[in-house]
């Protein structure tokens, strides 16, 4: 695995507050009879940048999808920004508009221009006037360095550009928390860098982020904490340096040896 | 020419109706029987010597003329009315009349109607592409009453619609009405109204332009009529044709005298074979639609001219 140039960023000046952003307690989830998530306990503080790693099928995606209720959990409690996720539709709407999510396959809306992709939710969910929404959108498009593509359609952009639009689209909702589910794994190597750079700059601004990724370079450079999952459980968590240099659990050691052995 | 085609093919293609009891319908064995069918058989017997050498092509009111014009059939014997425009404009040749008829109406008794004039607002089942369709339009227009036509393809369908009550009245040739009513479960529940609103001389027809073929069919029909007039029946025809008798007309007809057959390229005994096929006109009538059949039509206009009817065969000479 190529080490990205992101290693050079220094994020040590950034603070993590004591305020809890997400609190997950004893969360369990089943798919049919299959126990996907088992007794998940996780507290995320505001400003934290968490990387989740783990073998395929370990439930990483499922966990972060539970956080904005794309999946329903069956036992335990998830509290996001002080609001508990239950079957209450209002709460779900509230949480979803505060939690941004970036998918592996971008999931841009192909029938809308980049700008429309970015203004859709602010206009219809946040009820922001169009002008204003467009201004915000342009702001974030500049941030991800593609303002000139605003009037193109997603199909006309490269994969890396599309993923950056997807990030801008989430940001336009001014979320307090961002979830990333393997945002770079559908990309070519050159494009991975573009996207990781964008994410690093987000991190620099103190955004609370949870990121499922296999980019260990990114994890080392940006994360406050790395969480390792296996078989639906959190097996180990630690700050990156410790995690990589001194893994405790057998499972983690095995995993790291495979990942880094490449 | 048609005659050569028929001979080469070894069978006659004859257009008949899709099924009208007594006139043309396949029996339980799939063999076509009936008044119109008999004409075809007679022609086949005259031309090919075998009354069974006929391919029957069922036609509806709508398809019959195209079938004939396109050459799919050689002769159409499907209770078809002889009209000016069919003869002249459609370029067909009617070779005679085998049944003098008129258009009538049939209604359920329960309706309590006794005259066609009382049918204002009624729903009328009518076969499309027929003269009866045109007559009906004229009749109601002239009498200034309204009606609702229900167009129908075949007699069977008409029967079904009528019995189901989807139309109040069924109108077609009176003979057709009688035949249809005869196949009802309870024929007595239906009446045929007294009005006959048109003349419907029904007869076989062939294409324009092949007069030789027209002659053959025409004189075959005439032979059947003449045979009845002269008392030639299927019972006595063997005897009569064995040797020339003393009636020269009969002799010429049966080919024991003169060269009539050779004149249009058939064997001398062509008429004998034609008559042997199903008997003379009278026999055919009695067997298929006569008073002793369920259809029970009386001869009426279709009696020999000698008996007050209209049947009159030109002389065989």
């Amino acid at each position: 695995m190529q080490q990205q140039s992101t290693t050079s960023v220094d994020l040590s000046h950034m603070t993590v507050s004591d305020e809890v952003a997400i609190q997950i307690t004893k969360m369990n989830k089943w798919y049919g009879n299959f126990h996907v998530l088992r007794d998940i306990d996780l507290t995320v503080y505001r400003g934290e940048r968490i990387v989740i790693a783990g073998p395929s099928g370990s439930g990483k995606s499922t966990m972060i999808r539970c956080i904005n209720r794309l999946e329903e959990h069956q036992a335990g409690k998830i509290v996001v920004d002080g609001t508990e996720l239950g079957s209450d539709l209002k709460n779900i709407d509230k949480i979803r508009s505060e939690v941004g999510m970036v998918f592996q396959h971008f999931n841009l809306f192909p029938h809308l221009t980049i700008l429309e992709n970015c203004t859709l939710a602010p206009i219809w969910v946040r009820k922001i006037p169009k002008k204003e929404a467009e201004a915000t959108a342009m702001h974030f498009l500049e941030k991800v360095k593609i303002p000139e593509q605003a009037n193109k359609y997603p199909g006309q952009l490269s994969g890396g550009q599309q993923q950056r639009v997807a990030i801008a689209r989430s940001l336009c909702m001014k979320p307090r928390i961002m979830l990333f589910d393997e945002p770079t794994s559908a990309l070519d190597p050159e494009m991975i860098k573009e996207v990781l750079d964008t994410m690093v700059s987000l991190a620099e601004e103190g955004m609370t982020m949870i990121c499922v990724t296999h980019e260990m370079g990114f994890a080392q450079a940006v994360a406050n904490r790395v969480i390792f999952m296996d078989a639906g459980q959190i097996v180990e968590q630690n700050e990156p340096k410790e995690f990589f240099n001194n893994p405790q659990h057998e499972r983690t050691k095995l995993f790291l040896s495979q990942i880094l052995g490449h | 020419a048609t005659l050569d085609d028929v001979k080469a093919r070894g069978s006659l293609n004859c257009g008949v109706s899709t099924g009208l009891t007594g006139f043309s319908a396949p029996d339980a064995n799939g063999v076509w029987q009936g008044f119109d069918v008999a004409v075809c058989r007679a022609v086949a017997a005259a031309v090919l010597g075998d009354p069974m050498a006929v391919e029957f092509v069922p036609t509806t009111g709508q398809t019959r003329f195209t079938a004939l014009a396109s050459g799919e059939i050689d002769v159409l014997a499907r209770n078809t009315t002889w009209t000016f425009s069919r003869d002249v404009d459609l370029k067909f040749e009617f070779i005679g009349v085998n049944y003098y008829d008129g258009q009538g109406f049939m209604v359920p008794k329960a309706l309590g109607v006794s005259s066609a004039k009382e049918l204002d607002g009624a729903t009328v089942c009518i076969q499309t592409g027929t003269t009866t369709e045109l007559n009906l339009a004229d009749f109601f227009r002239v009498n200034n009453i309204s009606y609702e036509p229900v167009p129908i393809e075949t007699n069977a369908e008409a029967q079904q619609q009528y019995l189901a009550g989807a139309c109040d009245v069924y109108t077609t040739d009176a003979s057709g009405l009688a035949a249809t009513r005869a196949s009802f479960e309870a024929p007595g529940d239906h009446v045929i109204l007294p009005e006959i609103i048109s003349k419907e001389p029904l007869g076989p027809l062939v294409r324009h332009g092949d007069s030789e073929w027209g002659d053959i069919v025409r004189w075959t029909l005439n032979a059947l009529v003449a045979a009845e007039e002269y008392g030639v029946t299927s019972a006595n025809i063997g005897e009569l044709s064995a040797a020339p008798g003393n009636n020269p007309e009969i002799n010429r007809l049966l080919g024991t005298e003169g060269e009539l057959g050779a004149m249009f390229g058939l064997e001398a005994d062509w008429a004998k074979k034609a008559i042997m096929a199903n008997g003379n006109y009278g026999e055919i009538f009695e067997k298929t639609i006569g008073e002793n059949t369920p259809i029970g039509l009386s001869r009426g206009l279709n009696a020999q001219w000698t008996e007050g009817g209209l049947l009159y065969s030109p002389p065989f000479r």
């Binding site: 794309l70 999931n107 199909g155 006309q156 490269s158 | 607002g121 009624a122 499309t128 609702e148 189901a164």
Partner: protein, 410 residues
């Protein structure tokens, strides 16, 4: 050392016709052309010869002769004295009528069945699958005949409504279902503005169209307002009001009243008579085509990846908004082209009217007229042309639409 030969002589050789790419295609086309011409002239000369033999000519004059027959369902004035041309027109309008009605109902049925087939209600999904498979795998003709039989055999004759103790009765005293069709109330005016009913209806349609236009303006206004303030004003009551009130007022002004069907003489009088043949054909065409449309709709929705709705949800969009703004606009692109070709099929299939005696273009122009005039060549030619033009029109529309919604790709 080089073994280069001089370029071949410039003279034209016969073999170049076959072996030289420059001439080869020309040769092939000329040969094809000649063969085609030969075939055509053979067919035409046969036809001329055959027509001559029959003593017929090729002439469309019959279209201007009186037809002599009546047509039960006519959307324009027509009687037995009208011309064959007008009869053909009546038939064409009838074809268009049943095709339009069929397309509308088929779309409704198809969309409902398609969406329900995706429903997470197991029973409903199964039921819809049953409907779809049942109709798709049995010939349309059978369905037409069957539904027609259901109409004629399964419903009472008008006479059943007669008498003191009728064996059948009308629904709500307003709708009579008989084996001759369904009679529904008609709207009539006793203070009509115009003599001709047509103009009155045109007026009403115009007013209604104006209302629809106004509703669009309201939508636009709401959009502008939303752009400016972010809040979309609630407009549904306004919309509803604008849609209904003007038309209603006009109707009242014109003294609109319901003309209920009632038994008069042999048949029901008053009201509107939907003939059994029309209903059977309409229902069968719609149910049959609806089954195909259901599959198209289902496919269209499935073609939109789950990621699209997840992305919308993750942005906080409600399911309804997601449907309107994200799923439908995309699904429609997938759905509409095959949908239109289904419309095309339905229109062509309407020629099965022959099975129930519905007087469509084939029955008038291609049926009775041909039969009465003996102009089968001309009649079939016109009939074929009519269907062809209709098909080309519809597929032309489809192409325009396709081009206008094509997704922009790199």
């Amino acid at each position: 050392m080089t073994t280069m030969t001089d370029p071949p002589g410039q003279g034209f050789r016969l073999s170049q016709l076959i072996y030289d790419t420059r001439y080869r295609s020309l040769t092939i086309q000329v040969v094809a052309m000649i063969l085609l011409m030969l075939l055509f002239s053979w067919l035409v000369s046969n036809t001329i010869h055959n027509l001559q033999n029959l003593g017929k000519d090729f002439d469309f004059g019959f279209l201007w002769q009186p037809s002599g027959y009546d047509i039960n369902q006519r959307l324009i004035d027509y009687n037995s004295q009208s011309t064959h041309g007008r009869a053909a027109l009546v038939g064409i309008l009838n074809t268009l009528l049943v095709a339009a009605l069929g397309c509308a109902l088929a779309t409704v049925l198809g969309v409902i069945a398609g969406v329900l087939r995706l429903s997470n209600n197991w029973l409903v999904a199964r039921l819809m699958a049953f409907y779809v498979e049942g109709f798709r795998n049995v010939p349309l003709l059978l369905w037409i005949v069957l539904i027609f039989a259901l109409m004629t055999e399964g419903t009472p004759a008008p006479s059943a409504f007669r008498g003191d103790t009728p064996s059948a009765s009308m629904l709500f005293d307003a709708v009579a279902i008989t084996n001759r069709g369904v009679y529904i109330p008609a709207i009539h005016f006793n203070a009509a503005f115009f003599e001709s009913g047509l103009y009155n209806w045109l007026l009403i349609i115009a007013v209604f169209a104006a209302s629809v236009f106004a509703v669009k303006r309201i939508g636009h206004w709401a959009a502008v307002k939303q752009e400016a303030t972010g809040d979309r004003p609630t407009t549904w009551y306004l919309t509803l009001g604008v849609l209904i009130v003007p038309t209603a007022i006009l109707m009242v002004l014109m003294g609109a009243y319901f003309d209920l069907p009632s038994l008069q003489g042999f048949n029901f009088g008053g009201g509107v008579h939907l003939r059994g043949s029309l209903i059977a054909l309409w229902l069968a065409l719609s149910l049959y085509t609806g089954a195909f449309i259901a599959e198209i709709v289902r496919g269209g929705i499935l073609a939109i990846s789950k990621g699209q709705s997840e992305a919308a949800f993750a942005l906080g969009l409600r399911p309804g908004t997601t449907m309107n703004l994200v799923i439908l606009p995309q699904a429609l692109r997938v759905i509409i082209p095959p949908l239109i070709s289904q419309f095309l099929n339905l229109t062509k299939n309407s020629s099965l009217a022959i099975a129930v005696g519905y007087m469509d273009a084939r029955s008038t122009l291609g049926g009775i007229t041909i039969n009465q005039t003996g102009r089968e060549l001309e009649g079939m030619l016109l009939l074929g042309l009519f269907y062809l033009v209709l098909s080309l029109l519809i597929s032309g529309v489809m192409n325009v639409y396709n081009n206008s919604v094509k997704l922009k790709e790199r």
